[in-house]
């Protein structure tokens, strides 16, 4: 059985001990556990981020399996429970706080109060805007990374990370709207999720440029 020391040493050898300590000491909130959030959480868990706060109100559905990190035997489970289970298979030592709740302007300032790094990973445009506005208005110390525009099968090269302001970063192509009839396809959604996760890891490491 893998020990905590073996796990940490393996990551420190690949990432460097100083960087690995920063990852291990970090806490990240992932808001929404769909195609973006489940892939973001995978990347952060594999990098050895020490603590993840997971938020979603939904259950695993067959329509999720084309792009989200769930499995047929998890159908019907709450996404928070299903993803926590899988993340612990990646890193048995990961600390997880998972809450099955719909985030709102009222509860965000409370539930995300202690989160220095926040990933927006919702699917609806109005909900993305709600989270971003609430965090930027009410949580003045948090860094926020959001995703907008990853539907369809355009080039992966059009997805990028932009720094909008001192503590707000936006990933995606900015325009590919699922409402325009474009489907969400595994690889392109994962590219956007990887942009979000990479920006979070850069911020943890102390890099503030996009």
């Amino acid at each position: 059985m893998l020990t905590r020391e073996e796990w940490y040493a393996a990551l420190a050898e690949r990432h460097g001990a100083e960087l690995q300590k920063k990852f291990a000491d970090a806490s990240v909130a992932v808001c929404g556990l769909g195609g973006l959030g489940s892939n973001i959480a995978f990347a952060l868990a594999r990098a050895g981020v020490g603590h993840l706060s997971l938020f979603d109100f939904d259950c695993v559905d067959v329509s999720n399996l084309n792009r989200q990190q769930y499995f047929p035997d998890q159908l019907g489970m709450e996404k928070t429970a299903a993803l926590s289970e899988t993340l612990r298979r990646i890193n048995p030592f990961l600390e997880i706080t998972a809450q099955t709740v719909k985030l709102t302007p009222e509860n965000i300032p409370v539930l995300l109060a202690d989160c220095p790094f926040i990933c927006e990973a919702f699917d609806r445009a109005d909900q993305k805007a709600m989270l971003v506005n609430t965090v930027l208005e009410q949580l003045p110390l948090a860094f926020l990374v959001s995703g907008s525009g990853m539907a369809g099968l355009d080039s992966a090269n059009s997805i990028r990370t932009r720094k909008i302001s001192r503590r707000f970063y936006l990933c995606g192509d900015g325009t590919s709207d699922v409402a325009a009839g474009l489907g969400l396809i595994s690889a392109r959604v994962a590219v956007c999720a990887a942009h979000e996760a990479n920006m979070i890891l850069r911020l943890i490491a102390g890099h503030t440029e996009a």
Binding site: G32, G34, G35, L36, G37, A121, F122, D123, R124, A125, D126, K128, A129, M130, V132, N133, L136, E137, S146, G147, S148, G149, M150, A151, I164, S165, R166, F168, L170, G172, G174, T175, S176, D177, V178, A179, L182, L184, V189
Partner: protein, 64 residues
Amino acid sequence: MVKVNGKQEAFDGMTVRAMLDALQCQTDRVAVERNENIVPKAQYDTVILQEGDHIEVVSFVGGG
């Protein structure tokens, strides 16, 4: 003139809401930064754009 998403626009003197209307943005899907600070939603009718302001309007699209 006001710089909006990198483009010069004659929006000085307008409220944030009037600017969003002129840009045909849906206010429930945007975040507006003015000179690197978020404009609270509750102030869209009262914040007046000033000459030289740098505005970033982020219009979110669906999918995730």
